[in-house]
């Protein structure tokens, strides 16, 4: 073999090595872009089918014919549909969701204001769901078919079946009104409003930074009930998925081999088997986070939690379509992003997925 041929084959090998990941990244970007376009199509379509005349909503029903026509031309309702969609897409890509009718602020500005509240709630709920859900799933898998498994399975099914708004009301009735263990609706007592300067937007963290322990405990006391309720619902899903992943691992021969070598069952289950499952769990947790953002609409309504969900709910009732569609867009983009993230993280953490073409 000549040196040139060797160089060519080495180059080919290198190309083959790098082409797989590159193709995967391109595929991924392509599908993310396509999903995003689909999302804009749907929100655009929703904006079109709404039975409210957008021009009338701006000018009011006492406006003259001339004013009506001028505004109609300005916002472009008479243009062909594809052109309207193109204009809409252009705006969305520039993060311009229009102005909210209720607050009279740009929708994006409103969103950035309310988003941290939702984040604080969803993050704590995710923490609760993971910290309790994963061990429960492992226990269910190791006690497969026995009463522990049945109990955990039944507990998850209960979680799947709870209407979150109802559970929130019952929780408020019991723990706030009757027992007085937690604070009621809202993020803070009125007395503590505006004491802590906003840094991260998460009140618990901001109050710690400012050293206001009283504010911190008040915020935590408001947070704990809605977060536990959302956490319980995500716990059900996390526990169930952990169980089925763990069952897949415990069937494998390496488990038997390590046990035969004299490793303690505890170590085999919680270190070796669970270590192999973490990668799959990341996907599950990412998706759980997405569904927590979604579930926020109902939970925040019940708990008067001033986040994205409550903002969208209020907009729904005032026919503030810009805000509703903007909110749908933001949650949709986060959702797509989480989906993508789990696709990206997967091969990074799991060498088997990396070598698979």
């Amino acid at each position: 073999m000549t040196a040139a041929a060797a160089a060519v084959s080495a180059a080919n090998e290198w190309v083959g090595h790098i082409a797989g990941p590159i193709r995967r990244v391109i595929n991924l970007l392509f599908s993310v872009a396509l999903t995003f376009l689909g999302l804009t199509c749907v929100t655009f379509f929703i904006g079109r089918i709404i039975p409210i005349d957008p021009v009338l909503a701006i000018v009011g029903d006492k406006a003259s014919r001339a004013t009506y026509n001028r505004v109609a031309t300005e916002i472009g309702v008479n243009l062909p549909i594809p052109v309207q969609y193109w204009r809409y897409l252009n705006k969305v890509l520039h993060a311009d969701f229009g102005v909210s009718l209720i607050t009279a602020h740009p929708v994006l500005e409103d969103m950035t204001r309310v988003f941290p509240a939702t984040m604080e709630l969803a993050l704590l709920a995710l923490f609760v769901g993971t910290v309790f859900g994963v061990p429960l799933g492992v226990v269910a898998a190791t006690h497969r078919g026995r009463w522990q498994d049945q109990l955990i399975r039944f507990g998850s099914l209960l979680g799947y079946s709870m209407p979150v708004f109802w559970l929130g009301l019952v929780g408020l009735l019991l723990f706030y009104a009757r027992l007085g263990w937690v604070e009621g609706p809202g993020r803070l007592d009125v007395a503590y409003d505006d004491i802590v300067p906003t840094i991260t937007g998460l009140i618990t963290i901001d109050s710690l930074i400012a050293g206001e322990s009283e504010v911190f405990w008040n915020a935590l006391s408001h947070l704990v009930l809605p977060a536990s309720i959302l956490g319980y619902l995500s716990l059900a899903y996390v526990a169930r998925m952990t169980r089925s992943f763990m069952l897949g691992q415990l069937r494998q021969e390496y488990v038997l081999a390590t046990l035969a070598k004299g490793l303690s069952p505890f170590r085999v289950v919680w270190v070796h088997a669970l270590g192999n499952v973490w990668v799959q769990l990341i996907t599950v947790i990412a998706l759980t986070f997405g569904s927590l953002l979604e579930g926020a609409v109902l939970t925040e309504t019940v708990f008067a939690w001033p986040g994205l969900g409550l903002y969208m709910k209020n907009s729904l009732f005032n026919a503030d379509l810009n805000a509703v569609l903007g909110g749908t867009m933001v949650i949709g983009v986060v959702y797509i992003f989480l989906n993508m993230l789990s696709d990206v993280i997967y091969p990074l953490v799991d060498p088997r997925a990396r070598s698979r073409k």
């Binding site: 599908s31 929703i46 497969r144 079946s161 109802w166 408020l172 009735l173 109902l298 309504t301 969208m312």
Partner: protein, 298 residues
């Protein structure tokens, strides 16, 4: 031998015997599962109560406003108390089961054909048809379902029909995926080839060979989805986007009882309990059915 022996005969003499035997074995599997039987009982009870609602409760008590009887606590006359307009909550919950069942039935009737209509051709013909159809499905699958249903319901205006449309629009993609997977596993089977050789058209093969074999897994998936559909519908109702007053929709009843929560707890909590029990029933049943169909899943 008796009828049980006939049903469990390992060498059935006719198609009918084989089919009935298969069903009987599935039934035995379900029968052994106490939780699944509880679920079946709840679902059957829901259907019966919805059909024969006037036998269980007084129609007038559910809809007539008697303001002097408002917010009464539980008693013999009003087992679950009365709401803010003096209507009997027990009767309203009973009649509300009709709305729940209607929504669930309508969504199923829309979602299954749409899912099959997209999944079957994708799996059967493959190639670019598969690529296009599955790309569309994946796009819809990546959407946040509840939020999208909310936006649809808000745009279409409140009401049961629009809630059904909004839920269906976001609920079909898993069925397309499932139908495609089911078709792919059978696409190259010899009995399909045999049918092709006999000159059966694509449509005939899809309808006589593939759909009947795919239906069981679709039905199991549907049972498991029911709880989610009920919860979404109730959530829309709670937000005021579902059935409109004075319809006794359970989610809307929870919402209207909210302001009396602290003093008259039953107004909001009882209808919510109904939602919870019914969706638990579907979940228990679906879980059991899945175990029967796929014993490997454990």
């Amino acid at each position: 031998m008796g009828w049980r022996g006939w049903l469990l005969d390992p060498a059935p003499a006719s198609r009918r015997q084989a089919r009935l035997g298969r069903w009987y074995r599935a039934w035995l599997g379900l029968y052994r599962n106490g939780l699944a039987m509880t679920g079946l009982f709840i679902v059957l009870a829901l259907v019966l109560i919805a059909i024969f609602a006037p036998l269980f409760a007084n129609h007038a008590a559910a809809f007539t406003q008697t303001l002097e009887d408002r917010l009464q606590p539980m008693s013999w006359a009003h087992p679950f108390g009365t709401d803010e307009l003096g209507r009997d909550i027990y009767a309203r919950v009973i009649f509300g089961s009709r709305i729940t069942l209607t929504i669930v039935a309508l969504v199923s009737v829309i979602v299954v054909p749409v899912g099959l209509g997209i999944g079957l051709p994708a799996g059967y013909f493959g190639g670019w048809i598969d690529a296009v159809l599955m790309r569309i499905t994946d796009i819809f699958l990546a959407f946040p379902r509840l939020v999208l249903a909310l936006a649809f319901a808000a745009a279409l205006g409140p009401g049961i029909e629009n809630a059904v449309i909004a839920i269906s629009l976001t609920a079909w993609p898993p069925y397309a995926r499932l139908a495609r997977a089911e078709t792919l596993t059978r696409r190259n089977a010899e009995f399909i080839e045999a049918a092709e050789l006999q000159g059966a058209s694509h449509l005939r093969i899809l309808f006589t060979q593939i759909i009947p074999l795919s239906l069981p897994s679709v039905i199991i998936r549907l049972t498991l989805d029911m709880a989610g559909i009920i919860l979404t519908a109730a959530g829309l109702g709670f937000l005021g986007l579902g059935a409109q007053p004075p319809a006794p929709e359970w989610g809307a009843m929870v919402s209207s009882g909210r302001q009396y929560l602290l003093d008259q707890w039953w107004v909001a909590t009882i209808p919510g309990l109904a939602i919870f029990i019914v969706s638990l029933g579907f979940n228990l049943l679906g879980d059991g059915l899945r175990d029967v169909s796929d014993s490997r899943a454990g």
